[in-house]
Symmetry: C2
Amino acid sequence: MTATTSGDTETRERVLQAADRLFYAKSAHAVGMDELRAEAGVSLKKLYSLFDGKEALVEEVLRRREEAITAETMKYVLRASTPEEQILAVFDWMADSSGTTDFRGCAFINSYAELGPSSDRVTAVVRHQKTGVRGAIAAMVAATGRPEWVADSIFLLFEGAMTNTAITVSSEPARQARKAARFLLDKTA
Amino acid sequence: MTATTSGDTETRERVLQAADRLFYAKSAHAVGMDELRAEAGVSLKKLYSLFDGKEALVEEVLRRREEAITAETMKYVLRASTPEEQILAVFDWMADSSGTTDFRGCAFINSYAELGPSSDRVTAVVRHQKTGVRGAIAAMVAATGRPEWVADSIFLLFEGAMTNTAITVSSEPARQARKAARFLLDKTA
DNA sequence: TACAGTAGAGAACGAGCGTTCTCCACGGCA
DNA sequence: TGCCGTGGAGAACGCTCGTTCTCTACTGTA
């Protein structure tokens, strides 16, 4: 029935949001399916009727997060006026995100660290996200006519800032990375 | 007795080496104490007489790894002739390390991702290591008379390259980071 | 030879996990 | 009203984990 299907879609959404929040905050292995069930306000039966199991849930959470982060970052990028400012906007997104409580860095790096060795599916999603981010930066850099190694550098600055913003609990690394990226852009103009 | 104490020291060493290898390769939660016991060739009783528990073991493994990596990196640094080459040598160490099988990136970032939310002690060791690496790079950069933001940039390049070298299973990020660092040094000469 | 103390092997324990199953209350329909 | 099927609550299951305990074999000593 259409009504039931629609209800399922909403429930799925609620579960995925709860899972994303909990997995990101505590790491996946530290969150039990029962805790997730409680947080999402759903029965265990429903949970397992909607998802194949925990690993599948983790996989889907990561895929959705990739889309969400891309969309959110794009808002920052499109708001900028010049192509150079667009590139730097990704660091503004990071600085703003790290201001929120319990920012824990890059969910994909974190998941790779925790589950990469035991889950090929998680590894695949993580690689996909990294390829995507790198590609997006490369496209923006290429649009300014600069060589690809500039994009590689900015990508690595971005990645290093993500982890260290989390570890130091400060947006300082994000600002430092932005400054370095600007320098690279200025000197390759 | 002295003989027994010495034997204990050797056994401790063996356990710590096995733990370091297994925790790094598989992540800590994926390695059981029994698997570790088998790998180290020691009884469970002895294991618990030498260490307070798993968390304490993880903590000590990380502390020892920090020392080991520092020492190993220093070999690369001291081999270089100019101050600039010394800074860049850390990326050579990374490129060489990533060539070894089952390189898994930065053990501290990985541990923070997995255990940071649940273990203050692990978090403290990770922060200590990051502060140390950042400080070491800052000292080398300062010795060349360049401003501190150059050190911040190189540190973030280093960190980004560590994670992505692992994720992409390639030493390419290490080389890209080296190139970017050299550019920064050249343009701030 | 008899004995005390140590250490190894691994059984045992309690807790927690992911997953499944049982039970029951409630809905639409004849 | 009586029936059937869906879905929720949560008990149950099987497994694995970290940790402790028991038993046994062995060593050095009198």
